[in-house]
């Protein structure tokens, strides 16, 4: 499906949710209100005309040092792909510095759990409703979010405590029927 058609459909289906669009080298980026992301994604996934059944990735960006940037500090780009229809979609939501929150989509795609954890770990976007929003690439004692522009590349942290993983294990055992 053409990006423009997708934009029109989303604008009609979710009045007020679509904030704008931008051409990203042939792929239309559709900018959405952060609070509507889960509703839009569930529609894109389940509607037979859309059938975006794969979440390719979530890319989080800190725009604070971007020249002439106006608007929210953080952005999260959701890349979706439909294997049956072949088309792709690119959605962007933004979050302000003082309250960097975006609703989770971890209940909609299995890999969104880790993708959101990575965005949280690296940039510091908090995905509300995420079942296990903890660091994934950096050490669990790490302070700060290294891919923020105000985190100096030379700042090191000496961290040594083991991650027990028992917090995740307790949840998982319960899900698996072990009381």
């Amino acid at each position: 499906m053409d990006g423009q058609v997708l934009l029109e459909k989303l604008t009609a289906k979710f009045p007020g949710a679509v904030k704008g669009s931008a051409d990203r080298f042939g792929q239309l980026e559709i900018q959405l209100e952060a609070k509507s992301i889960a509703d839009v994604v569930v529609y894109l996934r389940d509607d037979s005309e859309m059938a975006f059944n794969m979440l390719v990735d979530i890319a989080a960006i800190d725009y604070s040092a971007f020249p002439n940037h106006t608007g929210d500090r953080f952005g999260a780009v959701y890349l979706l792909k439909s294997l049956s229809l072949g088309h792709r979609a690119q959605l962007k939501v933004t979050a302000p510095e003082e309250k960097p929150e975006v609703p989770t989509i971890s209940h909609l795609f299995a890999n969104a759990n880790w993708c959101e954890r990575e965005a949280y770990d690296q940039i510091g976007i908090r995905f509300t409703g995420h079942p296990n929003l903890k660091r994934i690439l950096n050490h669990h004692e790490f302070v700060g979010h290294p891919l923020r522009k105000d985190y100096p590349i030379t700042r090191r942290q000496a961290l040594s405590a083991n991650e027990s993983l028992m917090d995740e294990m307790a949840v998982r055992l319960k899900q698996r029927g072990w009381e």
């Binding site: 990203r24 080298f25 792929q27 980026e29 059944n53 794969m54 979440l55 390719v56 990735d57 890319a59 989080a60 960006i61 800190d62 040092a65 971007f66 020249p67 780009v77 890349l79 294997l83 072949g86 690119q90 795609f109 299995a110 890999n111 759990n113 880790w114 990575e118 690296q122 660091r135 994934i136 690439l137 950096n138 050490h139 290294p146 891919l147 985190y151 590349i153 991650e163 993983l165 028992m166 995740e168 294990m169 998982r172 055992l173 899900q175 698996r176 029927g177 072990w178 009381e179």
Partner: protein, 410 residues
């Protein structure tokens, strides 16, 4: 304690979650982070009921070195060597993936010959990646002989790559706008000879394992993942195709003339360890077909664009005239500066979709590079896949999803 009968069914369907079990009978065991079978530093915490995995959770990040942050502090050209270290088993595919994305941002025309050589080297890399994966996977389940058959020919491919770019693993072979150098004169003869040996070694390995009872028992029906679940986890590449989904970016979103080449997409049936190992052998065959077709009609011409914004001028010009010298100086000192913009671009790497989301702000450094490594999605499913299996099956499964910590942790 444990009823031995529950250990007998070797399915990955999992324990009967409806019945209530006593947690105190479980034993917590760490698989990794430093374990010969993890091939890198990956950690899984297993709750064991006897030898069966009742639940598993994983931890990654042991090889995290800040690839994305490093890219922001370096110029676009300086990022290329960092991409070698993503999937270091098939480094050139990463080089190509990154350069292709930047070239699209700059709208640079890459010469035909450079594209053909990129396809050739990518397919050679895909072959060795698959050979390493299958070879190491087979070692993990006790079939050591196959390892020598696969690694012997891999070494010969490395000899070619070494002659081509001076390095074995960390090739940094591409440049923005083309390649660092052309192929050497005997390249096609040597590639044809090595392809013959690869075919032979794949045949030998297949002969050794395809009717081997131990191999079949260790791999068939082990750690099955359904199509739907694999797609929901964002799996791509051979592991997704092993579940029966015919999805290959070289066919679905073709680039670099893959649409004009004749090759098939092998698919598996149920998505078990067996399918994931065998699909790689079939893909090696297809890559050999591709290389043979490209070698037969290798275009002539330069291997790097003449676009003065991105390519260094020939040395005669740098030292021979002021324009050449200035051009050289500009590119070294001021770098390659794409106009502000954002782009997601992807290639079919050996493990699946390798994507780069690049934000440019008009300067010589990328403002943000987000790498989408195929392994990340594969390993996200690992815990779920091994639950209900035995510890030894977890090891067999880990090898079959081909986790490369370099791109997993970045």
């Amino acid at each position: 304690m444990i009823d031995t009968k529950t250990l007998l069914p070797r399915s990955s369907q999992g324990l009967d979650s409806a019945k209530h079990q006593e947690k105190k009978d479980l034993v917590m065991v760490n698989l990794g982070p430093s374990h010969p079978a993890t091939h890198g530093t990956l950690r899984a915490l297993l709750a064991l009921d006897g030898e069966t995995i009742a639940a598993a959770v994983t931890e990654i990040g042991y090889l995290h070195r800040g690839f994305e942050k490093d890219c922001e502090a370096h110029t676009f050209q300086q990022c290329i060597p960092y991409t070698d270290r993503l999937n270091y088993v098939s480094a050139i595919i990463n080089n190509v993936g990154f350069c292709k994305a930047v070239e699209r941002m700059l709208a640079v025309e890459v010469p035909e010959r450079a594209i053909a050589i990129r396809v050739l080297t990518c397919e050679l890399n895909r072959i060795i990646d698959h050979l390493v994966c299958a070879g190491a996977n087979l070692v993990d389940i006790g079939a050591l002989t196959n390892f020598w058959y696969t690694f012997n020919v891999r070494e010969k491919v490395y000899n070619i790559l070494e002659k081509l770019c001076g390095a074995r693993l960390t090739s940094s072979y591409t440049r923005i706008g083309g390649l660092s150098r052309d192929v050497y004169p005997e390249f096609d003869v040597e590639v044809k000879a090595v392809l013959k040996e690869i075919r032979e070694s794949v045949k030998q390995v297949k002969t050794l394992i395809s009717t081997n009872r131990i191999f079949l028992d260790r791999t068939k029906g082990i750690c099955v993942i359904s199509k739907e679940r694999a797609i929901s986890y964002g799996w791509t590449g051979p592991t997704l195709r092993a579940t029966g989904v015919e999805y290959d970016l070289r066919k679905s979103d073709p680039y670099y003339g893959y649409q004009d080449l004749k090759f098939d997409i092998p698919v598996g049936t149920i998505g078990d360890v067996y399918d994931r190992i065998f699909i790689r052998f079939y893909e090696i065959e297809e890559s050999i077909h591709i290389i043979e077709q490209v070698l037969g009609k290798l275009p002539k011409g330069p291997v790097i664009t003449a676009d003065k914004r991105v390519a260094l001028p020939p040395k005669q010009q740098t030292y021979g005239n002021i324009e050449g010298l200035m051009n050289h100086f500009k590119i070294i000192m001021h770098g390659i500066c794409p106009a502000p913009g954002e782009l997601y671009d992807f290639t079919e790497a050996a493990n699946g979709e390798l994507g780069f989301y690049i934000v440019a702000d008009g300067s010589k450094n990328p403002y943000r590079v987000k790498c989408r490594p195929p392994c990340f999605m594969n390993f996200a499913a690992f815990g779920e896949m091994i639950e209900g299996s035995m510890v030894a099956d977890a090891v067999a499964n880990l090898g079959s999803i081909n986790i490369i910590a370099g791109e997993l942790d970045r």
